[in-house]
Structure formats: structure tokens, C-alpha cells
């Protein structure tokens, strides 16, 4: 296929900016949609597109996405609003039972801002420095005041964790994060083996169909994804899931310290078994016994592995986070059962980082702002969340949940498969608490530049 029209696609859809600071703002639109349209009109020329940065990275970027309530507040025709997928119309809160967002993760326990249900838009500023973020935010506030198009309900700051004076890719538990997002046909990015889908030979990798990420293109089933009408409103857009995930670092460290006493493989290996990678990022599948920076740094190796040689999970446990959320060829069929369940992830940590060994308390809020981009929230994100994180049958794990992300409520169980050696013993971790808690979120539509223009100019006709 030919190249995508990157100037029509929001940059956030096509690439992780790799900028160390971010602020996510949440807007409530004005009563009179005329003012909101004026605001969108002002923003139109400022939105960062997928165009190549010939002169290096900008100091800041700006992107926008709208909730279904936001689209309704813009007074889109009812016939158009009804063409959006059901899960997007309902919003994330209404889907909490489906997603397993119950108990401590239930919407009643989310941050105050989400209680009203009035979040109409998400605006993301990514920047080189906090000052760049502030400058862009001030500019946005001026536009909001000038047009009267919205009011800010709140915002969430996030930033890469600083290690040895530089921005890193580790998250609060201490694992190196951000390895493999999927490749898609036509999306120009640095690609490496392991990023797309398995080819027919079961060994090499090829990009996923564009329609797994972008609306208006054929997907892995050879058809156009379910999308709103008219098609100009949908094309080059995507759906985004926003989830604020609080990480209970103290609980995690205490749990690991306790269990490590009974695990003869050592604490570092136990931590690696939870996620499927050693803390430095080395995949267990490629190096089951020690960290290996040569693998982590080699793009031909760091994501280039399958599970067919490890059907019992003795290297990477069947229930390890990595193996659950991207099972590769775990279910056979050369990965054929997972190609329509892939998601693109974006995000940054928030809150103060506490290095291992220093006192840490879970009353302090820290975690990760986790965002998902996909053509179908129900087929991709919701399926992964329900079937692979909060359930385990596809991996022959019954009702067991993802050890790290699962909503365990103190009753979770994680079986670590091993062999007859003392360095790799079988182990059952039980009474897992919630290491991660959901603090809020919503489903958004991330429109193309064309679609944003249609919204700004009130040009969406019912179809």
C-alpha cells in the first residue's frame, strides 16, 4: 500500500513522541457548541500531526480526543452519534463490569474529576521541559478564555522517571518498559523483529493491517473496522482508552520480599517471572537465567521471540504479564488468534519515584498514565483486559488473573512453572493483593485533522 497521509493523522496516533514530560488536560465543553467549535477552530493549526520532524523534535506537542459526551455536546446529528461503536457510546465507566473494574477499582473509587461524568475532551501536551509544558498550557488556557469554548476540569502531569540524571524508560516497580508496540502497514517507524505479527513461516515478522490502528483501512479480517458515518469523520482517526493506574509500590516490594524467602531461584528471578522480562528488560524467553544487556540493546533480539519452544512456561510462566497481554504464538496457529487483539500503548509514569531500598508508602499517589490506541475498543482493548488480564482460559489458567495488573482483592494466585533444578523451582504465589489500582479513565475518539475541521465548522451531515 502507499504511504499514509500523515499530515491528516494526529502525531500521537502514529508515534510515541519520546518526550520526557506530559500533561493531560480534561475539558468540559461550553453549553453553546458555537463557542466550542470556535475553540476547535483555533486549535486546528496547532495540533501536532504525524508529519516527519525534519528540524528535530519540537519543544512541545498538542493533541486532542473527544468522548462520546463531548461529541454530543458539539451537537453532532443524532444519526451520526448512533453510528459510533456501542462501547464508545457507553464510555468506560459503564463498561466497568465487563472490564473487571470492580471492588477497589470500581468507578466510585476513582479520582474526584471522573465522578461527574462530564469529561468531554482530553488534550495532551508532551514537552521537552516542564516550562515547555506550562507555556503550551498557558496558550491553551488563553484560547479557552478567548473563545469561551470549554472549561478545564483538571489535569494530570506525567514524566519519565529520572535515573542517573537522565530520562529513563523504567516504571515505578523498577521494570524497564516500552519495548514493543505493533507495526502497521504504512506507518513509518523504526521497526524490529517481534513488533508486528508472525508471518506464515512462524518465524519472521510482518506489519499488522493498517485497519487494526486506523479507521478507514482494511483490518486483519480484510474489512473496514466498525466506524462512524460519514466516513470522512472516521478515516485516519482511531479510538483511545485512557486509564490512570496507581501502582502500590510498597505492597509490591513487601510481597516480593516475602515470597523471595521461599523461592530458591532468587529475588531478581522471581521479579522477572512476574512480568516475563528481567528488570533491565531482558526477555526471560531468550535468557532465562540472567540479565543480558547485549540482548536488550540489540533490536534484532529484544522483542524477537516466540513461546512455542516453552509450552509449559518453564522459562516465561504461562501467567506472566508479558505472555498474557501479547501471547504471540502461545495459542498455536502461528499467532493467528492474537492478530486482531493487538493494541498500541502510550503513556508515562506519574508521581514521585522511590528507588528500591528507600522507604515508600502507598498513601502517596504514583503510577502510570496508560493509554491504548486501537480501531475497535471492544475487539482489542476490552478483549485483552477481560480475557487475558482479568481471566486466564486462553492460557489454560482458569480464572487466574494477570499477577501484576489483576484486580485480585487479596485472593489472587500466580503459578510459576519451573523444572527440577533449584535455580528454577515451581512456585505458587497466593493471596496476591492489588499491586495496581484504577483511578479513572474514559474512552475517547482521536479524530483526523479533517474530522476535527468538520467538527469545528459544523460540517457533519447525518448519513
Amino acid at each position: 500500500m502507499s504511504k499514509l497521509n500523515v499530515t491528516d493523522i494526529q502525531g500521537f496516533t502514529l508515534r510515541g513522541y519520546n518526550l520526557p514530560f506530559a500533561r493531560y488536560l480534561f475539558l468540559h465543553f461550553a453549553e453553546d457548541p458555537k463557542h466550542t467549535r470556535a475553540l476547535l477552530h483555533e486549535l486546528l493549526g496547532r495540533i501536532t500531526t504525524g508529519q516527519c520532524w525534519d528540524n528535530g523534535k519540537p519543544s512541545s506537542t498538542l493533541n486532542i480526543a473527544l468522548s462520546h459526551r463531548g461529541l454530543a455536546a458539539l451537537k453532532l446529528p443524532a444519526a451520526t452519534l448512533l453510528t459510533f461503536p456501542v462501547e464508545f457510546q457507553e464510555g468506560m465507566k459503564a463498561r466497568s463490569e465487563i472490564l473487571g473494574d470492580t471492588g477497589i477499582n470500581a468507578p466510585k473509587n476513582w479520582d474526584e474529576m471522573w465522578h461527574s461524568g462530564h469529561v468531554h475532551a482530553w488534550v495532551a501536551i508532551n514537552g521537552q521541559t516542564p516550562a515547555d509544558i506550562d507555556a503550551c498550557h498557558a496558550e491553551l488556557t488563553d484560547l479557552i478564555e478567548k473563545t469561551g469554548g470549554a472549561r478545564e476540569l483538571g489535569h494530570q502531569d506525567a514524566a519519565a522517571i529520572v535515573v542517573d540524571g537522565g530520562a529513563s524508560t523504567i516504571e515505578h516497580f523498577g521494570y524497564t518498559d516500552g519495548f514493543g508496540n505493533p507495526d502497521y502497514v504504512g506507518v513509518d517507524r523504526k521497526s524490529q523483529p517481534g513488533h508486528g505479527k508472525l508471518a506464515k513461516d512462524g518465524k519472521s515478522w510482518e506489519p499488522l493491517a493498517t485497519g487494526e490502528l486506523l479507521l478507514g483501512y482494511a483490518d486483519e479480517a480484510g474489512e473496514l473496522p466498525v466506524a462512524p458515518m460519514p466516513h470522512l469523520l472516521a478515516s485516519n482517526g482511531t479510538f483511545m482508552v485512557y486509564r490512570k493506574l496507581k501502582q502500590n509500590v510498597a505492597a509490591f516490594r513487601a510481597y516480593i520480599d516475602h515470597e523471595a524467602k521461599f523461592y530458591t531461584g532468587g529475588k531478581a528471578k522471581l521479579e522477572a517471572k512476574f512480568i516475563g522480562r528481567w528488570k533491565d528488560g531482558t526477555p526471560l524467553e531468550l535468557s532465562p537465567n540472567y540479565e543480558n544487556q547485549a540482548i536488550v540493546k540489540d533490536p534484532d533480539q529484544s522483542t524477537n521471540f516466540t513461546y512455542s519452544g516453552d509450552p509449559e512456561g518453564t522459562r516465561c510462566p504461562m501467567g506472566a504479564h508479558l505472555r498474557r497481554v501479547n501471547p504471540r504464538d502461545s495459542f498455536g496457529f502461528k499467532g493467528g488468534l492474537v492478530n486482531r487483539r493487538r493494541i498500541t500503548r502510550r503513556g508515562l509514569p506519574y508521581g514521585r519515584y522511590v528507588p528500591d531500598g528507600q522507604p515508600v508508602s502507598d498513601t502517596e499517589d504514583r503510577g502510570i498514565v496508560f493509554m491504548v490506541l486501537n480501531a475497535s475498543i471492544s475487539r482489542q482493548f476490552e478483549f485483552v483486559q477481560q480475557q487475558w488480564i482479568e481471566y486466564g482460559n486462553d492460557n489454560h489458567l482458569g480464572n487466574d488473573k494477570d499477577p501484576l495488573l489483576g484486580n485480585h482483592g487479596g485472593h489472587g494466585k500466580f503459578a510459576i512453572q519451573g523444572d527440577a533444578t533449584a535455580a528454577n523451582p515451581p512456585m505458587i504465589c497466593s493471596k496476591l493483593p492489588n499491586f495496581v489500582e484504577l483511578k479513572g479513565g474514559e474512552y475517547f475518539f482521536l479524530p483526523s485533522i479533517t474530522a476535527l475541521g468538520m467538527l469545528a465548522m459544523d460540517l457533519v451531515d447525518p448519513r
Partner: protein, 198 residues
Amino acid sequence: MSNINGKVYAMNVVTPMKPWKTWFLRLIFFLLGAIKSKQQDLINLSFIEFARWVIVPRKSFPRPDERMDAEELRYDYLLFFSNFNGTWNQYIDAFSAVLFQGLNLIWMWSEKFPGSVPVTPFKEYISRVQFDTDYYYTAYPHATANDLKAAHIVQASFDQLDATTATCTPREFEAAYLKFMLQVQSHLGETGEPPVVF
């Protein structure tokens, strides 16, 4: 009346075939039955408990009473019956993704079959020819086929441990217990409530 009982879904699909086409399907069933390797893909879908296709010829429809006239039917019928774990969408998605060739061979003789790829017309077709289940009993609503198979392995391994360790020393027991753990370690999933259907 529901097709769902706990973790199990029962699907009945009935499709009409022109009688001259039924012969081709009989041949295909004969070949699929004889070549066991051709069934392997279906068997490898671990969330399927059971799947069967049966031809119901137009002349062999039962008559409730001999005094009633035999119906004059123009079509033979293909009955598909399956029990599986997971949702309707998940099941048909998987069929369409990895079994499309086999499915096309079996269903292409049925009237108006659109093909199993792309998946949306296939789903529309199935939803039109599916008959809902009036009553559905399942012995283990909180278990999947994988769970049941796992339970058998755990039980057999445990029985073996029990039988072989009655008189052994602590050191021998340690070795036997490790062996037992390695046998059961990937078969220990919990049973319980199914995820919410969507």
C-alpha cells in the same frame, strides 16, 4: 431461555442445501473423517468443547404421527451443533481467523453462505441461521473444557503421589512431591464465575 450456562455456550445452526449439493458435502465429510490430521486445527482450539456437523436429508425428517402426510421439503439441511467456552463473538472470530478454509468447504453448499472471511457478513449469516437453545444443562458451569482436562491431570497425578509415597522417607517424599508439582504446575487455574458477556 439462553444459549449460555456459566462458562459454556451452546450453538445450534441450521442451513438449507439444494439436494444435489449435499453429495459434495458427503464426500467432504468422508474425506475429513478419514484424514484425521485435517481435524487437528479444530481440536487445537482449546475453548471448543464439542463441534459437530450433521446432514439431515429432506426425506428423513421425523413424522410425529404415521397418519400425518410426509412433508415435501425442497432442501436438505445441515445441522451444526457446538459447545464452547467464551463469547459468541470470540468463537466466530477464531473460526474466521484460523479455520476459514475448512469452514468454507463445509458451509459453501448451504444457501446464501457468504464465506467465513471477512468476518462481519459471516457473523450476520450465523446470527440469521442460529436457533436459540430452549434448555441447556451443563454439569460444570464454573469450569471450561481446559479446566476439566486440567482437573483430570491434577487428580491422576495426586492419586499417583498418594499411591507411591505411603511408606517413603522424607527425602524420597521431597523428590516425589517435586515430580508431582512439575506434573501439575501448568494445570492449576482456579474455577469460578465467567467474565461478563459482551
